[in-house]
């Protein structure tokens, strides 16, 4: 049990991003009481929740987790991981559990591992919705049962309470499902009586590891020191530093509101927070406020939609490059015409899009007149249809047109630069988030399931 300030290592921005072992050892030598990090985000899209799949490769997650579990076991301090396996669905948690058990075997350690599941049962959510306990967040409207049913997986972002309960029950390693990044890091400090405002704020500024530092390319982790009046943050890499500007600017990052951050059970308000350097590497933060609110958990739901097949060409033909927009419009019309004639009504309500990389693929806007021609143009063909087979049949029907469509008919047919044979690439489903709602609960543990893998007991048995 820590006496005095609570020290927490946040070793990286996300598990698998590249923990630096020397930094973790340095944090332990400085007296860290816990190691905490999230392992995911919604940033990379809905596929990882819909599929229950990690974004990171298994090896990078195992490498990072092994460094943390080894340090945790040697120092006798807990390793706390949230949003396991990128999305924090049950499959993502179980994937991470299997890695953790494998690591324990390799290290010859026998941790007590808590698994905090945050995936939600559709019938439970429908009942909550019917009881008026689910509220929409803009820009979405009220939830209906059909939307709930359309999701492949739904998670509710956990607060710190299930982590605190697992720590009290003696967890050496916690692998959480979907959790707010801040709650994962704040949980240990909250358990040990640190103030709410400082604990949550410390969790927020450190949630991307050394992203809140001056030199984001130097090192990966930070050390938090939380006391009764505020907290301090320093980089674990000695050749890097936190400054009041670098730390306060991180409150802006990825937040729609720079001052108030809604969390389960309250709002972190940093409007009056004061950031000050204590030395050339460390920033002290005071004045963070926790504004208690009724307990809500944010829901995330993901579903697979229609299917896509891709083709890609590179173009250097100066006649095309001089008239990219006209080329795009003529070719797109020709491809639709070709696909409709070739497949007939069975093609259904398909969609073709051409992304002109080097011209306007990112914006989709028409560049203003007089925009200089690019040196090369990459054209990505995207067919979207009800099935993968159909999307691919559309791509195949368009194949010759896409690779040879002329900008003017008075020359021989061109051949644009394509790099692969076969030329069409089946991309799979389109994955989308379906929910932007919160569920109101009376008890923070109500929608959480905790399971244990106790390797101590298993070894004894």
């Amino acid at each position: 049990m820590p006496s005095g300030p609570i020290k927490i290592i946040v070793p990286c921005g996300s598990l698998g991003a590249g923990v630096v072992e020397e930094e973790v050892q340095r944090g332990v030598a400085l007296g860290a009481h816990a190691i905490a990090s999230d392992a995911g985000s919604t940033d990379s899209g809905a596929a990882y929740l819909a599929l229950g799949m990690s974004k990171n490769n298994r090896g990078s997650v195992k490498r990072d987790l092994k460094i943390l579990m080894k340090a945790g076991a040697e120092a006798g301090i807990p390793v706390i991981i949230g949003t396991s396996g990128q999305a924090g669905g049950d499959l993502n948690v179980d994937w991470t559990r299997d890695i953790a058990v494998e690591i324990a075997g390799e290290l010859g350690i026998t941790p007590k591992i808590a698994l905090l599941y945050s995936e939600q049962d559709k019938a439970v959510l429908k009942a909550k919705n019917a009881a008026g306990k689910i509220t929409a967040l803009a820009p979405l409207g009220p939830l209906d049962d059909a939307t709930i049913d359309s999701c492949d997986h739904i998670v509710a972002a956990l607060g710190p309470e299930p982590y605190i309960a697992a720590l009290q029950a003696g967890a050496d390693v916690i692998l959480g499902g979907r959790t707010t990044d801040t709650a994962v890091i704040a949980s240990f400090a909250l358990l040990h009586g640190a103030p709410q405002g400082a604990s949550w704020h410390a969790g927020k500024v450190s949630e991307c590891g050394s992203q809140c530092s001056v030199h984001r390319d130097r090192g990966a982790g930070v050390l938090l020191t939380i006391d009764q009046d505020g907290f301090e943050i320093e980089t674990l890499a000695l050749n890097n530093q936190c400054t009041p500007h670098s730390v306060s600017a991180h409150m802006l990052y990825e937040n729609s509101d720079p001052f108030r951050l809604t969390e389960p059970g309250g709002v972190l308000d940093v409007t009056d927070a004061v950031y000050a350097s204590t030395d050339d590497r460390t920033v002290r933060v005071t004045g963070s406020v926790w504004d208690p609110k009724p307990y809500t958990m944010k829901l995330e739901g993901a579903a697979g939609g229609r299917y896509q097949t891709l083709m890609l060409v590179g173009i250097q033909d100066p006649d095309v490059l001089a008239r990219v927009d006209a080329f795009h419009d003529k070719m797109l019309a020709a491809l639709y015409d070709r696909a409709r004639k070739s497949l007939g009504p069975e093609a259904g309500d398909f969609h073709i899009s051409l992304r002109m990389y080097g011209w306007n693929a990112v914006s989709g806007d028409k560049p203003p007149p007089g925009t200089p021609a690019p040196r090369e143009l990459g054209v990505l063909f995207v067919a979207t249809a009800d099935t993968q087979e159909l999307a691919t049949q559309i791509a195949k029907a368009c194949n010759a047109y896409f690779f040879h469509y002329p900008i003017s008919m008075d020359k021989e047919l061109p051949s644009y630069g394509f790099a692969f044979t076969p030329a069409d690439v089946e991309r799979g489903q389109v994955y989308e988030f379906k929910l932007n709602h919160v569920v109101h609960v009376d008890d923070p543990m109500e929608l959480v399931r905790t399971a244990w893998v106790d390797l101590r007991k298993e070894e004894a048995a």
């Binding site: 919604t42 509101d257 995330e300």
Partner: protein
């Protein structure tokens, strides 16, 4: 006559969850922040014109301690749809750079 790129040393955009985008404008100093930070040219109409956003769902915050103006808006289409072009919205800030502030 000043554009965003002339009075800001850094401008960035990023998704804030699957349904929102946030723009951070780091002005060169307190003078440019004071002079241009509240410019109507950074209002909901501009965000609607540039990004197709619902002007009723545009929020603007001034952060004087950092000389920052933050603008957040609901995405016209949620992240990752069939015609997604910028999953993180990390390139969306570019459209703001040539906005005239006076």
């Amino acid at each position: 006559m000043a554009t965003v790129r002339q009075v800001c040393h850094h401008v960035r955009s990023k998704n804030a969850g699957p349904y929102w985008v946030t723009l951070d404008l780091f002005f060169d100093g307190p003078e440019t922040f004071e002079k241009y930070g509240q410019s109507p040219a950074l209002g909901p109409d501009t965000i609607q014109r540039l990004f197709g956003a619902d002007p009723a769902l545009v929020k603007r915050f001034a952060v004087p301690s950092l000389n920052v103006v933050k603008i957040s808006y609901a995405r016209a289409a949620p992240q990752g749809g069939e015609v997604e072009r910028d999953m993180h919205c990390g390139q969306q800030y570019v459209r703001l750079l040539d906005v005239q502030l006076d």
